[in-house]
Subunit: 239 residues, 2 copies
């Protein structure tokens, strides 16, 4: 049950990578935070924390949720169980908790796992962020969708049949979570005649960013934070 | 032909409405701008300018592009012709020009019309913003898409057959540019059994914001800046 003395759970988008793409509100909330939380790969640095690091107060309590990568789904869910418990303890004690979210909290992010566990019991405020979707379009230097275009967002782990069904309908497309699926996705787009309309972005807005035609990508080293954008044939993307 | 002495054209997203959702980079560029440009409804205040107004320097040169609303497409294109000419003059004289864009510059915005006219001749930098898409999802307080969900972005002016073809495929949906199309869209969603999964947001993150189930909207006064979000049946949105 929600009560007046509880803290508020803030889901704060920190944007795609460039710390200067934090919103003024995100920078203010992080700068004043007593407790922050974020996902972190097991044994590695949290990407969300690295984006926001310049704004995190020295005395801040930090809750790192060590998320196993890729395969171990059940293990990941127990990490969010534990994280939600720690966060709930602070909220019950009247302390606000700021959760750092890569991109936007509600757009293909892990904040949904905390939200699902906590939103019934606590006040939640979402601070929307610059999504990877628009950041990648900006880096490819071509409008992604306008007027009455249809834009469909797909993901790399989808199987070929499901992807093809959507791709054949036309419009513009984004494929999120590309990573190790790149060779299969590229072969499918080539088969459908869409390869020359396809751009590729990894680590958008970071110093390590790569932006190129999908046809040119070295498929031996594609990171998780990579995206394919497929421009509508009428105004195909040209680099 | 691009030369070293030219200014840079900045397409700067100012977010959905709350000035605190400007990025730090947007606030910096606007605060240092010598020339800004923005669309404005004929005889009315520019929404993009109103969001950014606190950051605009007093001595700044302002180029307002008086865009006719709704119907007069050809007239609008001549407004962008004129705006692009004024902007090009400043760029050639070595002055940077900051164009204020509602939401994100490349996501269903009018910046594409300037970009199409100027990107071949001048250096352009896109500063991505918080899109209305993620802002509306945040205000409806429910994750819009996660894991391997398909999210399709549609627009109100699309005809019923085109909308229905997409809606029958499943997944989550956003309908942008709702406005006067609301009665027709609501009837279609009702027919397809999607009305109870549909949320409505107008003027997200502004003091005049409205957030409610689509079923409850008074269709007599729906503004252009309104959006319908349709949640996937498995985890339907409940208010």
């Amino acid at each position: 049950m929600k009560t007046e003395n509880q803290g508020t759970l803030y889901g704060v988008g920190v944007g795609p990578g460039d710390p200067e793409l934090l919103s003024l509100k995100a920078a203010r909330l992080i700068g004043n935070a007593a407790v922050i939380a974020y996902p972190a790969p097991e044994g590695g640095e949290s990407f969300a924390r690295s984006i926001a690091s310049a704004f995190i107060p020295n005395q801040c309590i930090e809750i790192a949720m060590p998320v196993p990568m890729r395969t171990e789904r059940f293990a990941a869910q127990s990490v969010y169980d534990d994280g939600a418990k720690d966060i709930a303890d602070h909220l019950r004690a009247g302390r606000d908790v700021v959760v750092l979210c890569e991109g936007d909290p509600f757009f293909y992010g892990s904040f949904m796992y905390l939200h699902n566990r906590l939103a019934d019991q606590f006040n939640v405020e979402i601070v929307s962020g610059v999504s990877s979707l628009v950041a990648c379009a900006g880096r490819l230097a071509q409008p992604l969708a306008g007027r009455n275009d249809v834009l469909t967002i797909l993901t790399g782990p989808m199987d070929d049949d499901a992807l093809e069904q959507r791709l054949l309908l036309g419009g513009s497309f984004v494929i999120m979570k590309v990573g190790r699926h790149l060779p299969r996705l590229r072969a499918l787009l080539d088969k459908l005649g869409l390869l020359s309309n396809s751009g590729y972005v990894e680590r958008a807005t970071l110093p390590t960013e790569k932006v190129m035609p999908l046809a040119d990508v070295d498929e031996s080293c594609v990171p998780y934070f990579s995206m394919i954008l497929i421009y509508d044939g009428d105004e195909a993307w040209k680099k």
